[in-house]
């Protein structure tokens, strides 16, 4: 397909949500195509042959893969509106560092919470909360990460919020009790239309996790 923007995505993917938020912030019109991950489309396999994963952003027929690469691409191409990365090189390096931290730490420790039980689950919960507390420390007293407007690290992290309810139910703990400042930041982000419209319904995510647990034979 020539021209235009297409997003191959899956409704519950926090990585896909990052791209949806970025596109919404920049007010870019695009075609959203929901993917069946158990039966991957030819288009998905053609556009992301290396990883065969969503999200895939297709712009003028050319694919861009990896959510943080996609968010930076969107920020650079549509640079005249709602900048996501700051202008200062040191602030940019800091933003990239923390977005990368979210990538390295959040998905794995979160997944372990719903995939395991007993001691393993306790360890996963502990690690997850430790990571959130580090992020809370980085946020400090700022409204958003980086101390300027809503930006790159906010986009990288906020989608995980819609999975918190599932983690809490599976793990028997309260994230707000442990990280109240972070939840306050989430609520601030959720007041933005770009975020509210891009995140999945936490109840639906929990239903999905229960379905996955059954499918994987996890009690």
């Amino acid at each position: 397909m020539e021209g235009g923007v297409v997003l191959l995505d899956f409704w519950a993917s926090m990585f896909g949500m990052r791209v949806r938020i970025a596109l919404a912030e920049k007010e870019i019109k695009y075609e959203y195509r929901e993917q069946d991950l158990r039966n991957k489309s030819d288009l998905l396999l053609q556009m992301n042959p290396v990883h065969k994963k969503i999200p895939v952003l297709i712009h003028n027929g050319k694919p861009i893969c990896e959510s943080l690469v996609q968010v930076q691409y969107i920020d650079e191409v549509w640079h005249d509106k709602a900048p996501l990365l700051p202008a200062d090189p040191y602030k940019r390096a800091t933003a990239r560092f923390w977005a990368d931290f979210v990538d390295k730490k959040m998905y794995d420790s979160g997944s372990k919470i719903w995939k395991t039980k007993g001691e393993e689950q306790e360890a996963a919960k502990k690690e997850f909360i430790e990571n959130l507390k580090l992020l809370e420390g980085e946020l400090g007293d700022n409204l958003y990460f980086g101390g300027e407007g809503f930006g790159y690290v906010d986009v990288a992290l906020v989608p995980f919020y819609c999975w918190f309810y599932a983690y809490e139910q599976c793990g028997g703990f309260s994230i707000e009790a442990e990280c109240p400042k972070l939840i306050a930041w989430v609520k601030r982000c959720m007041q933005k239309e770009s975020v509210a419209k891009s995140l999945a319904d936490p109840e639906k995510v929990y239903e999905f996790v229960l379905h996955l647990k059954k499918a994987y034979g996890i009690e």
């Binding site: 290396v50 050319k62 690469v69 996609q70 940019r92 390096a93 560092f97």
Partner: protein, 234 residues
């Protein structure tokens, strides 16, 4: 630029440190290289400058630390824009370069290291297969990115050249230690040529470790790391 304004905490053998130094050389920047003696434990400066991961490289500019090699390279490119560009100017080409750099760091280089870390033939074979698959992908990517020129970045070394080229030392040492050939004239002719040009480049040749030295180091290091990993799981 006073040398004391820019410091690099690192070691001679780390590809991530090599990336940092190549980027500084491309921009003709002088800096103080502080070698972390990893066998002696982590220095206070390292622990203070990288409290989250406690790893090298760390770039310290003035008194501000920058961590994670690919982030450091982009920081260098953006802070000193008057030198030759490291990231490509076109946003799509930048996205492609970042994609492959992420692939190398998340999948390919860990597979190279896991050859040395493998306990048993099957695990080793699986890791080798992954490394070979990755090199084949990079050979194809080189064709698309270089557009007939010498480097991934075109006429000059760029982001992906640095990300991939910095791993050549350990790739070659791994080939030596295991009696295999991953990058060769038959399978990956373009990369063989690229690797030679990369290693001869003025910004690279002084920091690319000697393969024999790395091999010797690897022969001592990997058994130690395997033993430590085994001790953890028991």
């Amino acid at each position: 630029m006073a040398a004391s304004e820019v410091k690099v905490l690192g070691s001679w053998s780390s590809p991530y440190v090599i990336r940092t130094r190549i980027a500084l050389h491309i921009k003709s920047l002088t800096y103080e290289f502080i070698e972390e003696k990893l066998s002696e434990g982590k220095s206070q400066l390292l622990l203070k400058s990288n409290p989250v991961y406690k790893k090298i490289p760390v770039l310290i500019h003035g008194d501000k630390p920058v961590n994670e090699s690919l982030i450091i390279v982009q920081y260098i490119d953006e802070t000193w824009p008057s030198g030759p560009s490291i990231l490509p100017p076109d946003p799509y080409e930048r996205a492609v370069a970042r994609f492959w750099a992420a692939y190398l760091d998340e999948k390919w280089f860990p597979a190279v290291i896991s050859i040395g870390m493998s306990d048993g033939e099957e695990a080793k074979k699986a890791a080798m297969a992954q490394v070979e698959e990755g090199v084949a992908l990079m050979e194809e990517a080189f064709g698309k990115c270089s557009k007939g020129k010498v480097f991934f970045g075109g006429d000059e070394i760029g982001f992906l050249d640095i990300a991939f080229g910095s791993c050549l030392g350990w790739l070659r040492a791994t080939e030596e230690m295991n009696g295999i050939k991953v990058m060769d004239q038959g399978k990956t002719p373009a990369l063989v040529n690229w690797a030679e040009c990369f290693c001869c480049h003025s910004a690279v040749k002084d920091v690319m470790p000697d393969t024999d030295r790395l091999t010797e180091f690897g022969r001592v290091l990997f058994p130690k790391l395997r033993a430590a990993a085994a001790a953890k799981t028991h």
